[in-house]
Structure formats: structure tokens, C-alpha cells
């Protein structure tokens, strides 16, 4: 088919026009795509700081299933802060939990429920976010960080039981002389000669302190001695919960001495829960009743020296025992005899001479040897740069 020149010119013009339109449309499409990318990057992609951040959630190990651990890593700058929000999955209503420094290694969310699955949102300024995977906290059956402690405690328990068994079988154990405890009878004897009462102060802590419990046990033995000498014993008490236990201990001591009729319930006296009101009350007893032997056994604080110096001024024989190391120098300075730390706990076995109780002292000695060996090994390991040994004994 023949094409006329005029027709060919028109066709060429049309073709050029068509190419221009195509090019224009291509250009517009490309430009639109670039615009879309810019818009998407601005409003839908996380900030440069969070773009490369990875958020991980995990159950906190060795706990009761009430905490989750959030960790993030990536290119984070100094001064950035992250808003952490939490939702109960599949609910998407996030509530803020904390705002933290982005440079922190992580965050532990506590007070959670084991029955709920949680999802976390970490948000930077501008509303840009990273979501976590759904996660639930779970409870551990064993705190693995305390395994070494458990093993040591179990060994100690076993050694106590072995020595108690040996003691019950008639084995005799050597117990070193404790001057303060030997002086106890001498002090009570002196009070008897002077016709004055004995004062026994069981510290100012409650029965949840093991020192107060140890003091109650010693009180029973001291009460037995005072009863056998027919000397009154006055026991001022700082915590009301200690009153019935002290009454029972004194009553039992008098019964063990075969003199229950000498027991005077008015001599176990609750004074005050307040530290210095109690101190004033005890000082008053010392000064008014002229106690000849003052025995302080238990947990003491700032009142220790006030009591001991007042007792010194009255001329009483004073025997003190505490495991509070910050008060020991005061007792050592102001009292005639002082039981230091573990001697307070050994007093009951020492005074009663009961084989079973003496067995526990022996077990403590064995434990001390083991601890000394471990300390020496730890010193050597740390000196050689082997930190793993010390970490074994670090409990969470």
C-alpha cells in the first residue's frame, strides 16, 4: 500500500507526539514513585536511630514469673530516649510502661502476670515504633544463680546432722574456753552476795532477728542460774512480741532449777518500742534497782554504749554479746567481758553443755575450714585473672 508524503508527515508528527506523551508519562510515573518513596520514608519507616534497632524480649530467668526483659541493640545515639509501651496480646491498646535512656542495655518490666501474653512497643520521638514478638513470663522451679549457695547450705546441714548424731552417740567434743560465758556464773554469784538483782537485756530487735532468738535461749540458762542462786532477774524488753517468749524462757529456767515459786512475772517488763525511750527505761532500772550484774545479749545499736556506760557507773559486772559488728567496739570498751559475733550463738551450747548443741558448734568449725579453703582458692583465682570462680558465688 502506497503512503502519500502528506500522510507520512502527519504520521511522523503523530508518532513524535506519542513518544513525547510516553516519555512524559514515564517521567511523571518515575517522579511520583520517588515522591512516594520520600513520603513513605518520612512517615512509615522508623527513625534513622531505630531503623537498625533490633528489639528482643525474653522471660527473666530464675524468678517467679512476674517479669520480662526487653533488650535492644543497634545504632543508637547518646541522649536518645525510648518510650516503652505494653499491651496484652492480641489487644493493641498499648499503655506506657517507662521512658528509658536508649543507651541502656535493656529494661526489666516487673509486676506482670504469668497468664497474660504481652507485646511491647518501643517508640522514639516522632512516633516511630518497633514492635516485639508476643511473649509470656514464666516461673522458674529453681533459682539457678543460687545453686552453689544451695550446695554449700546442704553440705552444712548434713555436717550439722552428722555431728549431732556423733554427739548423741557419746562422742565428746572440745570447745574452747569462752571467758565471757565462764564469767556469767561469777557475775550472778556476785549479785547474790550483794543482794541485788541481775539485769538481762535481750537487745532491741524483734524475734525476726536471729540474735534475739539466740538471746532468748541464753536467757533460759541465765534464768536457771539466777534461780539456783535465788537471785531476782529483771528482763526489760523493747519489742512486745519478745515479751511472751522472754516470760516462757525465764519461767522455764526457774523450773529447770527446781525453783518455780521464785518466778516473778513482773520482772519481764515491756518498756517501749522506741529505741531511746527503752534506753532511758533500762538506765532507770540500773540506777534505781542497783543491778549488780548486767548482761546484754542480742542485737544492739546506738544505745549499746549508753547502756554499758551507765552500767559501768553503777559498778555492775557487765557481760555483753552481739553480732552487730559496729557495736562490738563499744561493748569491748565499756564491759568487763564481750562475746564477739559467733560466740553469741555458741553461748547456749556452751552453757547447757548439751551434746546435741555442742555438735552444731563442731559443724560450724568444719564450715569455717571449708570457707577458709574457698577464700584462699578465690584469692588465688582472682590474682590469676580467673573470674569465673568468684562468679560461681554471686547470687542474684
Amino acid at each position: 500500500m502506497a503512503i502519500s508524503p502528506a500522510c507520512a508527515r502527519v504520521s511522523l508528527r503523530c508518532l513524535r507526539t506519542a513518544c513525547g506523551v510516553r516519555q512524559l508519562s514515564r517521567f511523571l510515573l518515575s517522579f511520583g514513585f520517588v515522591l512516594f518513596l520520600i513520603w513513605f520514608a518520612l512517615f512509615h519507616v522508623t527513625s534513622p536511630a531505630l531503623a537498625s534497632v533490633v528489639l528482643e524480649t525474653a522471660d527473666r530467668p530464675d524468678d517467679d514469673g512476674t517479669a520480662l526483659r526487653l533488650m535492644w541493640r543497634g545504632d543508637l545515639a547518646e541522649g536518645d530516649s525510648l518510650v516503652i509501651s505494653r499491651a496484652a496480646y492480641p489487644d493493641t491498646a498499648f499503655s506506657p510502661v517507662a521512658t528509658v535512656d536508649a543507651m541502656r542495655a535493656g529494661y526489666t518490666d516487673q509486676g506482670l502476670s504469668r497468664k497474660i501474653t504481652y507485646v511491647y512497643k518501643v517508640e522514639a520521638a516522632g512516633g516511630r515504633t518497633v514492635l516485639s514478638e508476643p511473649v509470656s513470663p514464666s516461673a522458674s522451679f529453681l533459682n539457678t544463680s543460687r545453686l552453689v549457695m544451695l550446695a554449700i547450705l546442704a553440705l552444712y546441714f548434713i555436717s550439722v546432722l552428722i555431728y549431732i548424731k556423733l554427739a548423741a552417740g557419746g562422742r565428746e567434743f572440745f570447745v574452747r574456753r569462752i571467758s565471757g560465758l565462764n564469767a556469767m556464773e561469777e557475775a550472778i554469784g556476785r549479785a547474790t552476795e550483794m543482794g541485788r538483782p541481775v539485769l538481762y537485756v535481750p537487745g532491741i530487735d524483734d524475734l525476726n532477728n536471729i540474735q534475739t532468738i539466740a538471746s532468748m535461749v541464753i536467757l533460759g540458762d541465765v534464768a536457771r542460774m539466777t534461780a539456783s542462786y535465788e537471785t531476782p532477774i529483771v528482763v526489760p524488753v523493747c519489742k512486745p512480741f519478745v515479751v511472751p517468749v522472754a516470760e516462757e524462757a525465764v519461767k522455764q529456767g526457774f523450773m529447770n532449777a527446781g525453783r518455780p515459786e521464785l518466778y516473778n512475772p513482773d520482772n519481764v517488763r515491756y518498756l517501749s518500742d522506741e529505741q531511746f525511750a527503752f534506753t532511758a527505761g533500762v538506765n532507770g532500772i540500773m540506777l534505781r534497782e542497783k543491778t549488780a550484774a548486767n548482761i546484754y545479749m542480742g542485737s544492739f545499736f546506738a544505745e549499746s554504749l549508753i547502756l554499758a556506760e551507765t552500767g559501768f557507773s553503777t559498778g555492775a559486772i557487765q557481760i555483753a554479746g552481739t553480732a552487730n559488728i559496729h557495736q562490738l567496739p563499744f561493748f569491748v570498751a565499756a564491759c568487763d567481758y564481750a562475746l564477739i559475733g559467733e560466740e553469741l550463738y555458741a553461748a547456749s551450747a556452751y552453757l547447757s553443755k548439751e551434746p546435741k548443741l555442742l555438735g552444731t558448734l563442731k559443724a560450724s568449725d568444719v564450715a569455717k575450714v571449708i570457707i577458709m579453703v574457698l577464700l584462699t582458692a578465690g584469692c588465688i583465682a582472682e590474682s590469676l585473672g580467673l573470674t569465673a570462680f568468684a562468679e560461681l558465688f554471686t547470687a542474684r
Partner: protein, 206 residues
């Protein structure tokens, strides 16, 4: 039975507390937490025993007019007055109870505490007398430490503060830790004796 049942209760409660230290799971942790709450409640009730004890002994002394009965009388009056004000007017800040506490009790407490300064001086005087080798050593070390902690010590010898710190951080700390380890073992064995019922004198008579 009077001692067996309390020993059994002590064993169960004690072992629960020991196990809860190593087993964080709620089947152990929750009963242990409940038991700790019970302890708080029981302690609160024990105040009734304390008040009964103090009232009984003080009233007995006042009634019999024994030596210094007036002090006991003042104690009973103060006890009743403070309790009465607290119950009738409340213990809110700025109230009468709060006023009495801040203007009467707190100054008296501060007076007692301030006695400590004088007692420290008198006890230190006795303790630091060089009567034996140990007391002399104590005296010398105490003087060095005291000098090392005041500006004049540094004037005397610039190395004295550092030497004082070394005394406190090395030999002193070593002795303290030794006492603490011994006391901790004693505390564990006392607890064990209670839990296992080996030590039961605190339970009173059979």
C-alpha cells in the same frame, strides 16, 4: 504434745522459708509471702500483750506505793493520754498527737542520744589506756586513724590519710569480715537448731 506441735509448726514454717530462697515458683513463693504477712499481723497483735504487760506492772507498783512509784504513775498517765489523744483526735500531721510527739518525745529522745557523745569520750579514755600490749596497739592505731581523718594529720604527713584508709580497708575490714562469716554460720546453725527442734528451750515447759 505441748512442744511437739510447736516444733512441727516451726519445722514446716522454717523449711518453707529456706526452700523459698531457692525455689522462686509461686507454689512455694506465694505461701511464703502469705506467712510473712501473718508475721506482720501477729506482731501487731503482740502490742496488746506489750501494753497489758506495762499497764499491769506499772499499776501494780503505783498501787503498792513501792520505791519510785511516781515514775510509774507518770508513765501510765502518759500512756493513757497519748493513746486517748491518738484515738480521739487522730494522728495526722499538725494535730495534738503530732504536736506532743514532736515537742515532747523527740526532744527527750534527742537528749538521750546526745549522751552518747560524752559516753564515747569516757569509754575511749578507759579503752585506750596502755595497760597491755593489745591496749597499746589499740591506742596507737586509734591515734593514727583519728589523725588521718582530720586536716592536721595531712599537714603532719601527706601520706597519713592514705595510710588511715589502708588500715580501715585492709586489716580492719579483714577482721570485720572474719567476725561476719563466723556470726553468719552461727546464725545458720541457730536457725537449723530451731527448725529441727534440737533447741526447744524457747518453747517453755512441757
Amino acid at each position: 504434745m505441748r512442744t511437739e506441735i510447736p516444733v512441727a509448726i516451726a519445722f514446716v514454717a522454717g523449711m518453707l522459708m529456706v526452700v523459698s530462697l531457692f525455689v522462686p515458683h509461686p507454689f512455694i513463693a506465694e505461701p511464703a509471702a502469705v506467712m510473712r504477712s501473718w508475721a506482720i499481723i501477729i506482731t501487731a497483735f503482740a502490742y496488746v500483750l506489750g501494753v497489758a504487760n506495762i499497764a499491769r506492772i506499772s499499776l501494780h507498783t503505783v498501787k503498792k506505793r513501792t520505791t519510785d512509784w511516781q515514775y510509774k504513775g507518770a508513765l501510765v498517765v502518759a500512756l493513757v493520754a497519748m493513746a486517748g489523744v491518738g484515738v480521739s483526735r487522730g494522728i495526722q500531721t499538725g494535730g495534738l498527737f503530732d504536736w506532743a510527739y514532736l515537742n515532747m518525745y523527740v526532744p527527750m529522745q534527742a537528749t538521750m542520744f546526745s549522751l552518747l557523745a560524752f559516753f564515747i569520750a569516757s569509754a575511749a579514755y578507759r579503752a585506750f589506756r596502755a595497760r597491755s600490749v593489745e591496749a597499746t596497739l589499740l591506742l596507737v592505731v586509734a591515734v593514727v586513724v583519728m589523725l588521718g581523718r582530720v586536716p592536721v594529720g595531712e599537714k603532719l604527713w601527706p601520706g597519713l590519710p592514705a595510710f588511715t584508709e589502708w588500715i580501715m580497708e585492709v586489716p580492719n575490714m579483714a577482721a570485720k569480715r572474719g567476725i561476719m562469716i563466723g556470726a553468719a554460720l552461727g546464725a545458720i546453725s541457730t536457725g537449723l537448731k530451731m527448725i529441727l527442734g534440737i533447741e526447744r528451750s524457747y518453747l517453755g515447759s512441757d
